[in-house]
Amino acid sequence: MKTVRDIMQESAGFRFLINEINIVSSPGRKLLYNRQMMTLADDIRQQLDLLEKMQILVQIPENKDPIDRIIHDLITLKDIQLTISRLSRGEISDDIELFEIKQLSLLNESIKALLKQIRCDLIRLPDLGEVVGLLDPDNQGIPHFYIYSAYSEALLDLRLKIKQTDISSTEEWEAFRLQEQELEEEIRISLSQKLRVFADGLKVALEGLSLLDVLIAVANWSIEMSLCKPGISYKDTRYEALFNPAVKRFLKETGKEYQPVDIHFDKIPVLITGANMGGKTVLLQTVFIAQYLCQFGLFVPAKNAMISPVEAVYFNNEENRTSQNGLSSFAEEMVQLNELVKAVRSGKKVLVLLDELARTTNPDEGKAIVSSTLEFLAGQKTSGLITTHYSGIRVECRKLRIRGLMYEKLSEKIHLKDLNRYMDYRLEEVEMNEAPAEGIRIAEIMGMDEEIIFKAKLHYTGKKP
């Protein structure tokens, strides 16, 4: 199953979004990045519910201070899994490991108290008071460590002697040092034996605190990014006001507004047509991102969403192509398409996202490939979004059109930068098989050479002698 890390590598939009999550500890980041895509509705719901509850907690004004403290403390959370497994195997912990165990235990205790203060029972943290007791014999409550003199009278005496010995009388001093090391080692052995029973508890603490880091960060991020908790359905997928966070951010930075889109689809593939720059690719990328976010138990960029989980998402986005095997872009696309067909045949539940399938080959054959693929997907009751520029695809399926250029608003003076103001990105159901012919018009707006435009119009209308 794919992990968050895998999808971050596949999709820049997804990576942008995940990189905005402000997880403060490295074990927290590791936990999120290694999270696997879930396919069972109950698993997904459980994660989403957990996140929703955390989101409620972080929004309560009185909780702000304790939560800020939790975040601040979590910065010190370190991945000490190796130390814990060495301890549980009965090996002797050295001072650095004992320091790590003490630091984790103190952190566990302080955060447990803070969670109690905000009445959060979402994370189960163990009781490590005894561990703290063992590693803090002077009861100082600070996360520092050495083999304290309080552990043994003999050690205390010896250290006094060392202090009184001149370091330049090397032999005597080193002899004392050797004795000190032996005594310290005895104490380490005894501490390691006593601590061994807490290895499981330490593991639970490490996991719990990592999860807490993820949950708080993800809850805050969901609020900042205006994400919503999706519902889980086995029937269909519906988005109300779906948006692409990276594109939205980019537009906002340049003073423009993002037009969110409503879309729904069920077990029939949908053919989407629309002008260039109409947002077809962004739409598919956004559906891709939202599907994965949901199946990783995260909220999605929409006002409302109902999502049907799948076992795999197939997206022929160029970004996802590896191109390492020396194949042309068309050949590679076909290899991927074949994998998709195999998966569908094997009964896997997949979501298919095909952006301008077969666009790099000749249009007649390309159209034929789009048609046969659509027929296949429709026959297999596979949900998917397939965009195309090709006209005349006569397959029984749902057809949507991106409204595109708002001709009524078009004046002579359009600034390239403003083009998005003249685009209507909404989708509408259509019956016809013709793709909109707006390519030349858009080329014109983009400031294309007049001669080319003029001749292109002649060619297009068949008036070219």
């Binding site: 050495y146 250290r159 202090k163 370091i167």
Partner: protein, 323 residues
């Protein structure tokens, strides 16, 4: 604390300063920088020496050297990042003792370490530094600097004075003080034109650059050129040729990035060229070691006199001071 060459008595000097600080009652931290990897000093190729630590001093060293320590020490912090010798362990000496000190492996980390010492109410952090073109880390971000020089540099007093003076001149190059300097800081690679109007443009992303007539325009419009990496004789040569009427100003990250010969620098500067640095430490003193490992030694007083004459900072022989 930096040494001009191996065996110039940098460690002696560090020990002397530590011994003085012990008596002063200041809270002191000590670490080292510049050498990622080996337990022998990459610059001088000598085994790293143990440093004498006094009670309560904070020291930061790699995991490897921490495990070999000869001192009772309370661990204060264990870094997540690793040097080639393991994580960085920050600890407080609970008794007198010794430890090899090997610290952060790059400048940014060193900077963070120094500022993190505030949490432990440290008054002074000493950094055992190195000048090396192989090192990613520069000690030039400290407030002050001590330079150790000595007979090991040259048996000829005149040569010794000349080489020391040249390094001191580099250390004392003026800081490029411009509102833009923080933005330039972040440029880790490449050679950049820094315009008076505030814009920064890349001239060469990586690798060396050929300066030619086109470069003249950069200077003609008043811009300076920032080298994120080394400045070499060759680059300086080409720039010297361009110095005509226009002001040629170049910026180095710090003096440890300038690898030019005294003659070339002199030629560049006498024609009106100027070098600035982004990071600059105030040189507060020069320590001399009259003994060379080959067995000869120079007259301590003559050395101090000759250096004092050409330098603007005090010159000490720490061996004599401690005696």
């Amino acid at each position: 604390m930096i040494g001009l060459d191996k065996n110039t008595g940098k460690t002696e000097c560090l020990k002397y300063v530590l011994a003085q600080l012990k008596l002063s009652g200041h809270r002191v931290a000590v670490t080292s920088v510049g050498l990622d990897g080996e337990s022998s000093d990459q610059v001088t190729n000598t085994p790293k020496p143990e440093i004498n630590l006094f009670e309560n001093i904070i020291f930061a060293t790699s995991e490897k050297h921490f495990r070999q320590k000869k001192v009772t020490a309370e661990i204060l912090d264990v870094s997540e990042r690793k040097t080639a010798l393991g994580r960085l362990i920050t600890a407080r000496a609970m008794s007198e003792g010794k430890c090899i000190i090997s610290g952060p492996s790059d400048t940014a980390w060193l900077k963070n370490f120094i500022s993190s010492m505030d949490h432990h109410e440290v008054d002074i952090t000493l950094v055992d530094g190195a000048i090396s073109r192989r090192s990613l880390a520069s000690p030039a971000i400290t407030d002050c600097m001590l330079l150790a020089t000595g007979a090991a540099v040259s048996a000829n007093l005149q040569q010794l004075v000349k080489r020391t003076k040249f390094t001191v001149d580099l250390i004392q190059l003026p800081r490029f003080s411009d509102p833009l300097s923080s933005e330039i800081h972040d440029k880790d690679t490449g050679i950049w034109a820094v315009d008076v109007n505030g814009s920064i443009q890349v001239l060469e992303k990586e690798g060396p650059i050929r300066f030619n007539k086109a470069t003249e325009d950069i200077f003609r419009r008043g811009a300076a050129i920032f080298f994120s990496g080394m400045i070499t004789d060759r680059a300086l040569d080409e720039l010297t040729r361009l110095v005509n009427d226009q002001k040629v100003r170049i910026i180095a990250r710090d003096f440890t990035r300038i690898f030019v010969s005294p003659e070339k620098l002199l030629k560049f500067e006498s024609k009106g060229g100027k070098i600035f640095v982004l990071n600059r430490s105030e040189l507060i003193a020069v320590c001399v070691n009259p003994y060379s490992p080959q067995g000869y030694h120079l007259n301590s007083e003559a050395m101090i006199d000759a250096l004092s004459e050409v330098l603007t900072v005090p010159v000490f022989d720490v061996k004599k001071l401690s005696a």
